[in-house]
């Protein structure tokens, strides 16, 4: 089962394939507006989730994605229906980007019957076979070998699907990540590893946790190309992911390290003593992915203020509806306690 190894330079600075130019300004506007909408949906959804947590409607761990929206939106834009996605526990944004319903995600957060896992998974454990979203995993880095297994299944079945595996800078130090990189490279599996480097693994900065010259370079010993991307710029993410997905689909794994930032704490209770307010404020002011795209939309004439206001209104309605649904959906029936432990043979 030999496979032609790609001659393409992975990771390096090869330019985009001119997709944007070829598609013309009109479709470019449509795409940018869609990204704006998708990022805003995640932002507003997470803000509402944080508020509902504060009201006691959501319990336990709740890891918000605010600030990192450009990563999933830019990458998802490069994927098709045949591709699969898996991530860790900061997963609400990934699910919304994958097209899962805001109602079902929010109702899972509130632990209700209408949630994607019927209230039995919670914030960190949601799935949608229909959308090829494979979770939602609570153990740091456990999703990485699982994602390589999804890539294996694509290859085994002779499909050309790609498995996208998200993990954070904290997970990047787990041993199973390197077992996974080795297997993916050794067996030439179609896996795109996306490292969401938001600078802090819980309260420990990357510089205090990770040796070496950058997380994107950590596939080097396995021959896996890696590239560092501005994860606060959805267009940069899209361009890098487009190239990487094409390469991975051709039959070899790749790494993208997204430089990103979470505005909120690690989870809901976070003393925030490990970084300064100035640092957070500067990020929000200078690099916010949604504001940056809004500026592009307005300054390049893709949309006027009314169009953006209409999107804001639409998102507000979706989130309000999801919140209402999540509050009104009943708790799971007590009989649910014993269902879904095993499948009938």
């Amino acid at each position: 089962m030999s496979r032609q190894s790609s001659k393409k330079r992975g990771g390096a600075s090869a330019k985009g394939n001119g997709r944007a130019a070829a598609n013309g300004a009109a479709s470019d506007s449509g795409r940018l507006l869609r990204w704006y909408r998708d990022m805003l949906l995640i932002r507003r959804f997470e803000e509402r989730a944080g508020q509902m947590y504060g009201m006691g409607l959501i319990g336990g761990f709740c890891h918000l994605y605010i600030g990192q929206e450009a990563v999933v939106v830019g990458i998802q834009a490069c994927l098709g229906e045949r591709d699969s996605v898996i991530t860790g526990y900061r997963d609400h944004g990934h699910m919304l980007a994958a097209g899962m319903e805001a109602r079902g995600v929010m109702a899972e957060l509130t632990g209700r019957e209408g949630g994607y896992s019927r209230g039995k998974g919670g914030s960190m454990h949601m799935f949608s076979r229909e959308k090829n979203f494979f979770g939602g995993h609570g153990i740091v880095a456990a999703q990485v070998p699982l994602g390589v297994g999804l890539g294996f299944s694509h290859r085994y079945k002779g499909e050309d699907g790609v498995s996208v595996v998200y993990f954070g800078d904290g997970a990047a130090n787990q041993g199973q990540v390197y077992e996974s990189l080795n297997l993916a490279a050794l067996w030439e599996l179609p896996v795109l590893f996306v490292i969401e480097n938001n600078k802090y693994g819980m309260g420990t900065s990357v510089s205090r946790a990770a040796a070496g010259s950058g997380l994107h370079a950590r596939g080097g010993g396995f021959g896996i190309p890696g590239r560092l991307v501005d994860g606060m710029d959805v267009r940069a993410v899209y361009e890098a992911a487009g190239e990487a997905v094409a390469e991975v689909r051709g039959g070899r794994p790749a790494i993208l390290e997204m430089e990103t930032y979470r505005y909120r704490g690690h989870s809901m209770s976070d003393p925030a003593k490990y970084r300064t307010r100035e640092e957070v404020n500067q990020m929000r002011r200078d690099r916010d992915p949604i504001e940056r795209l809004r500026h592009v939309l307005e300054s390049e004439g893709h949309a006027d203020a009314d169009a953006l206001k209409a999107i804001d209104g639409e998102i507000r309605e979706i989130v309000a509806d999801a919140a209402q649904f999540a509050e009104q959906s009943p708790e799971p029936d007590p009989s649910e306690l014993y269902t879904d432990v095993l499948l009938e043979a």
Binding site: I139, L146, V148, F152, L183, V341, L342, L343
Partner: protein
């Protein structure tokens, strides 16, 4: 009408906190996402963000105020053009009611599959082969039957198995379906689980189950729990198989029984066959099962021969124990290699006039409570035998079942014969002392018979 912004909770247990700092003042315009205040408890600090757009109509509590109850109003927002003096009198919204106590669930000891029907008495053709060959035949037949079945593990392909269990599979099925892995248990166990999520049916061989401890997070947290956590969406049809229990003269790290470890986990099925026929029939059933199955083999049994059905459609049901020797006086339950030792003990007891019934448990989760209890109702006495350690072992569960399901029929306390409560020693004499033998089983049987 102004909108109230309320005191958020940092955690479900927080009831009150301090408003450490206001970052907005009356008259300020706020947008969703703007930080409006910082709140503190003794454990943490959190920023409060606006969710609605509006103009600050008034602060309901001053900066530095302590003991502010969760869900009480801290700030009023008004819309554009609304009067600033429309702020209502501060009135705490009703607190979120405590959740009602959970409705009593159906009492149920173990979330498990319903008992399967008894196996059919096989009257077809058989062949005399070893357990090793029986396992190989099971895999080969299932791989012929279902293209999604593949075998993966260390040395399973070109080397044909560290214990030669996968002999001939590479030649028949090729490297796509018979995969040598690097020595990377955590990685390939996780890969297997992911492949099962992706629609395949992996058979993952651990060279021995001792090494599966490197991978146990993927087995327990990913394979066993994901179906439940996904509300039934994410089935994981995977078999983890390999030798378990004491080998010979390999010391503590390579001689351990994991039966009770895995039998503890809801979401797993645990099987440990003794005979060659069961090794084949149960492995075939395990591969067809839609759930993760832990299939515990035994190195010392691999060379043992037995009559094995050749019909590829014949399988053995999971969840059914098997009476190996019928008897009236005392029940002895065992699994895997200890069945041989229990049968040896039964022969010795027969010479003394004690008629022992020997039961091969075969499946350890779900345990066949019905067969165990029925036997106790006949013999009124039970001895449990296992190689593993005594504390929280399979024997502990057998004792609980005897008490729960057959208390009134017991004429003596349950006896447990187990491996000694020590790491396995290397020295030949000490190793022999650490493992159950026929003499100890016979002694336990005599004790419960007051003989």
């Amino acid at each position: 009408m102004p909108v109230a912004v309320t005191m958020p909770a940092l955690s479900p247990t927080m009831t009150e906190g301090t408003l450490a700092k206001w970052l907005v003042a009356e008259g300020d315009r706020v947008s969703p996402g703007d930080v409006i205040a910082e709140i503190e408890t003794d454990k943490a600090t959190m920023e409060v963000e606006a969710v609605e757009e509006g103009i600050v109509a008034g602060l309901a509590v001053p900066e530095g105020a302590e003991g502010i109850e969760v869900n009480s109003t801290i700030l009023w927002l008004r819309g554009e053009g609304e009067s600033a003096d429309a702020v209502p009198v501060v009135e705490a919204p009703p607190p979120v009611a405590d959740p009602p106590p959970p409705a009593p669930a159906q009492p149920r000891r173990e979330a498990s599959k319903p008992q399967p029907a008894s196996e059919i008495d096989y009257r077809g053709e058989t062949v005399e082969i070893t357990v090793r060959e029986a396992l190989r035949d099971a895999m080969a037949e299932e791989m012929r039957r279902d293209e999604s079945v593949f075998v993966m593990g260390e040395e399973v392909a070109e080397y044909e198995g560290a214990y030669k269990v996968t002999q001939g599979l590479l030649a028949e099925f090729g490297p796509r379906r018979v995969r040598d892995t690097p020595i990377t248990e955590h990685g390939f166990a996780g890969l297997g689980v992911g492949a099962a999520f992706g629609g395949l049916r992996p058979v993952v061989e651990f060279m021995t189950f001792n090494f599966a401890m490197q991978a146990i997070d993927q087995i327990v947290n990913s394979a066993a729990k994901t179906l439940y956590m996904s509300g039934g969406q994410m089935g994981c049809p995977i078999v983890f198989r390999g030798p378990n229990g004491a080998a010979a003269r390999v010391a503590a790290q390579h001689s351990q029984c994991y039966a009770s470890w895995y039998a503890h986990i809801p979401g797993l099925v645990v099987v440990s066959p003794f005979s060659a026929a069961d090794a084949k029939g149960l492995l075939k059933t395990a591969i067809r099962d839609p759930n993760p199955v832990i299939f515990l083999e035994n190195e010392i049994l691999y060379g043992r021969r037995g009559a094995v059905p050749t019909d590829p459609d014949h399988t053995v049901p999971i969840g059914r124990a098997k009476v190996l020797r019928s008897g009236r006086d005392v029940t002895v339950v065992a699994f895997s290699r200890m069945c041989a030792v229990a049968l040896e003990a039964a022969d010795a007891l027969a010479g003394e006039g004690i008629d022992a019934e020997v039961i091969d448990l075969r499946t350890l989760r779900p345990l066949d409570r019905e067969t165990i209890a029925a036997s106790i109702r006949k013999t009124n006495r039970i001895v449990s035998v296992e190689e593993g350690w005594p504390v929280a072992g399979i024997g502990s569960e057998i004792a609980a079942i005897a008490m729960e399901d057959a208390f009134d029929w017991l004429d003596a306390p349950v006896a447990r014969v187990t491996g000694e409560d020590v790491p396995m020693p290397y020295a030949a004499n000490l190793e022999a002392l650490a493992l159950p033998d026929a003499a100890r089983i016979a002694a336990a049987a005599r004790a419960v018979c007051y003989a």
